[in-house]
Amino acid sequence: MYNGEAYITGSCVIRKNQVYRDGTLLWEAPQEQELPEFLRGGYDHFSGQYPKFHKMDPLSKLGWLATEVLLKEQPLHYPADKVGLVLANKSASLDTDLRYFDTVKDIASPALFVYTLSNIVMGEISIRHGFKGENAFFTADVFDADFITAYVSQLFAEEAIVACICGWVEVMGPVYDVFLYRVERSGGSVVFNADNLQKTISI
């Protein structure tokens, strides 16, 4: 039975060519390295054996990689339809939309077109981890911890989910910022609320 609280049981931050899990720096690339090379390096370091990664757009790669880091050593063992995904960012899929628009002038690229929706990143994460639960992608100028907390808490309260990956996955050109949280109905000590969301990713 749900007791009205959920817990932050993990976090992943990817920014400035550094990858953190639970506040600990796990891997970093040279600061001058560009995003595509950084993402390839991160994939090689944390995963490999998933060729579909190379076809993803930067938004999907970032979300996929952060989730990989978050769940690699501690997979979520819940029914597939009870794991939710709630993500947000500022630029939606504009980074890929613009590159797709460039191809339209010649022959439109089907491979780019399929990533011209921001919620495709959640599809890629779901395929990788078998998630089939509630999901939503929001667009806002900045990460609204109060809103995300309220939305995810409501999903817990309705018992629609027992665990959730939530957070921020932003990319626009070379500028990116990712922080994801692993939230579970039990098994943690850090209560899932807006203050703790902010504290957890203070690097």
Binding site: P51, H54, A111, V114
Partner: protein, 86 residues
């Protein structure tokens, strides 16, 4: 035909962004989809774009797709037949 198949393999690897596959690892008769190279429907569309961009060929009948795109050899045969008939 051998040169065309070699060129096609390189173009497929590049166009489909198959970063973990080397062109020479693709067999001439290896199925490209499902259990073969594992390509999907979006890849099929990208190969259609490739044929249009590199060889000026449009697939007139989409129902021919599975037959034409079965392997590198079947694509090469299609290109050769199309170019010969011009």
């Amino acid at each position: 035909m051998e040169n065309l198949m070699a060129a096609l393999k390189a173009q497929i690897v590049e166009q489909l962004n198959l970063q973990e596959v080397k062109p020479e690892e693709i067999g001439d008769d290896q199925p490209l989809f499902k259990d073969g190279l594992g390509l999907d429907s979006i890849d099929a569309l990208e190969i259609i774009v490739l044929l249009q961009q590199q060889y000026g060929i449009r697939i007139a009948n989409p129902e021919q797709g599975p037959e034409i795109f079965y392997s590198v050899r079947t694509i090469a045969e299609f290109i050769t037949a199309h170019q010969t008939s011009k």
